[in-house]
């Protein structure tokens, strides 16, 4: 039959195209990071592979070499910038600490709050849920000034802890709502069965319900991590010395020009930790999706 085969080919082509569209910017970014300046700034033609690959950008952002040093090492003159440093190793560490910390805190708080909202019937539960949701309506820019003052007086400005707190604050509503829907999917009968089996409320949560929603926990963690990893505005306002990756990258755009080579090298490096994180939770993610329904 021609029909189904044609459809199949069409489907494969579409899949490849879609993946290509999504992957191309990442590929281009990675490619840019190993291009010499001449290839990045070639306005006559688009350079794909016709260049001499270089690790100069990585040496600058990841190994703390200044351009002047590199120029001396290679014995050539190497554009502008002179002796200023673009070392970003501490940035990557800070960003990792903030993202892991805020993810852990968000998931911890979100999971226990969501369990309570899903299972315990208390007065004003619906209002409480709506209130949590309303926190998500709030654009961070609207509250940034008061938050800067609060942070200043609380001594949280320019601290890792402060960033962990603010990212947790922003992520918590979505984490609670997401986790609640995962808990809601587990029939209450399971809690009751465990209760009759002699489990306490905490044992039910810890030994029965939580293992059933690991997929949801993983999904929530990924969302929180990616948010924190890419969050720019709050980090920009609340830090001077500590710089998260998005803020650090923005400093490469200066009044005298943008350092596209460094930006792309740091951007490409920034993919690695989040990639590792998602790889780590991916097993749980898939497991959670297939464990799913208890009935059928």
């Amino acid at each position: 039959m021609q029909g189904p085969r044609f459809t199949r080919i069409l489907r494969d082509i579409t899949a490849v195209l879609v993946v290509g569209i999504f992957m191309f910017p990442i590929f281009w970014w990675g490619l840019t990071s190993i291009k010499p300046i001449s290839a990045i700034f070639n306005k006559d033609e688009v350079v794909f592979f016709d260049f001499e690959p270089t690790l100069v950008n990585y040496q600058v952002v990841l190994f703390g070499k200044s351009r002047a040093e590199l120029a001396i090492e290679s014995g050539s003159t190497f554009g502008v910038g002179g002796g200023s440093t673009y070392d970003s190793r501490k940035t990557i560490l800070d960003s990792t600490l903030v993202a892991v910390g805020s993810t852990a805190l968000t998931v911890f708080l979100g999971v226990i709050a969501a369990y309570a909202l899903s299972r315990i019937n208390f007065r004003g539960r619906q209002a409480y849920l709506n209130w949590i949701l309303s926190q998500r309506f709030m654009p961070p820019i609207a509250i940034i000034v008061p938050i800067v003052f609060m942070y200043h007086y609380a001594g949280l400005r320019d601290t890792i802890t402060g960033l962990i707190f603010i990212h947790t604050l922003i992520n918590l509503p979505i984490a609670v709502l997401l986790m609640k829907s995962f808990f809601d999917d587990v029939p209450v009968d399971v809690d009751e069965a465990a209760m009759l089996d002699g489990a306490t409320r905490f044992q039910i949560f810890r030994k029965v319900i939580l293992p059933l929603v690991t997929g949801g926990v993983a999904a929530t963690a990924v969302l929180c991590f990616v948010f924190s990893w890419t969050e720019f505005l709050l980090s920009l306002f609340l830090t001077n010395q500590i710089r998260t990756l998005p803020v650090k990258i923005s400093t490469f755009v200066t009044s005298t020009g943008s350092e596209w080579g460094f930006i792309s090298a740091l951007g490409t490096s920034a993919i690695v930790p989040s990639f590792i994180f998602i790889l780590l939770v991916q097993k749980q993610l898939v497991r959670g999706l297939t464990l799913g329904s208890l009935k059928d």
């Binding site: 009751e192 069965a193 465990a194 208890l294």
Partner: protein, 357 residues
């Protein structure tokens, strides 16, 4: 094993009372089925016995001990849920062992008990599987295994077969009954399926809107329904009901309905002009030969194999007759039906209560 006593139990949600003072005595070792349509309060009653639902008023005792304020886990009961409520992340063995693990029972004893239960329920080959690798019937058996390893005083079943397909349901019905005969544990079983109730119960408790309509052995409830509701709820195909007025014809009492006269049993205490409902089960209504019987018109004939269900139009009412003989009736044909007079149920039209019983 223990008896269960329900004394003047009421349940209200806010201003809404859903159970209105039920009294029920369940003897030690009995298999009692709570039967009724959805919303009749049968599950609520079961959940109150289990301790999953607070009791608004009244007293429930298990084995002579009032359990109102006892936590579910201290009531020594086990419950099987409609959707099995298995711990999906644990293997079958661990599902059954869970309650003992919580009690820190020694491993050797856990193994002994789980294996004992698995043998009874034919689950031995599946102990190392995940619940999702099992069929619906096997899952329900795991849920029962989880209940029996605890050796509870009372088993509670909350519509355990509703999620199974028809064939499996019949099979599991027998298995549950066998299990009860073997373990002799007091069992309270909730269902809306009257066939389940009839086939499994020692005693059926029929509930409607939070009231008990009748309590009795299956055949007692079937043969002597206390009121119209019970008569209609039990039996498939359902009882035939004809509304009419009592009259006398040639000195014998008859029911007048839509211009026809149906003979009434002479023993019944009836006053002429009394408005009654005449009930007869399909198997007690037989197609008559010759001129005898009540005239009706065949509308649908359903052969089921062992018997034939003949649906007829009798004075504007749909009436079903069941015959074991293979009769050759077709739609539109005239038929004469003859009721067995000693099997007639009469109810008061207003109150719905059975008359003369």
């Amino acid at each position: 094993m223990a008896s269960v006593t329900v004394k003047d139990i009421r349940k209200t949600y806010g201003d809404l009372e859903v159970i209105h003072g039920l009294n029920l005595e369940i003897e030690d070792g009995a298999f009692v089925v709570l039967l009724g349509p959805s919303g009749c309060g049968k599950s609520t009653l079961l959940r109150m016995i289990a301790g999953l639902e607070p009791i608004t008023h009244g007293e429930i005792s298990i084995g002579g001990q009032v359990v109102n304020d006892l936590h579910p886990k201290d009531r020594n009961i086990a419950m099987v849920f409609q959707n099995y409520a298995l711990y999906a992340h644990m293997k079958v063995f661990e599902n059954m062992a869970f309650s003992m693990r919580l009690k820190k029972t020694p491993q050797a004893e856990i193994e002994k008990k789980v294996n004992w239960a698995a043998e009874i329920l034919n689950l031995v080959p599946y102990l190392n599987r995940q619940p999702k690798q099992l069929s619906g019937g096997q899952r329900q058996r795991v849920a029962m295994g989880r209940a029996i390893v605890r050796n509870p005083q009372v088993f509670l079943f909350d519509e355990p077969l509703s999620n199974l397909d028809a064939k499996l349901r019949v099979q599991m019905r027998t298995e549950i009954k066998e299990l009860h005969q073997r373990l002799k544990t007091t069992t309270v079983y909730v269902t809306h399926d009257q066939i389940e109730a009839m086939t499994m119960a020692d005693r059926i408790v029929i509930l409607r809107d939070g009231y008990i309509e009748q309590i009795g052995a299956p055949m007692e409830v079937y043969n002597r329904p206390a009121n119209l509701f019970v008569a209609e709820f039990i039996g498939s195909p359902g009882i035939n009901l004809v509304r009419g007025e009592v009259a006398a014809e040639n000195g014998a009492p008859v029911l007048r309905a839509e211009g026809i006269a149906i003979p009434l049993p002479t023993a019944a205490k009836l006053a002429p002009g009394q408005k009654i409902v005449y009930g007869i089960r399909p198997e007690h209504l037989v197609p008559a030969h010759g001129g005898a019987g009540i005239p009706a018109k065949v509308s649908v004939v359903e052969p089921t194999g062992p018997e034939m269900h003949i649906y007829t139009d009798l004075a504007g009412t749909e009436v079903c007759a069941v015959s074991r003989d293979h009769l050759d009736y077709g739609p539109g044909q005239d038929i004469r039906l003859s009721p067995m007079l000693d099997q007639v149920h009469l109810f008061d039209q207003e109150s719905g209560k059975a008359i003369g019983r």
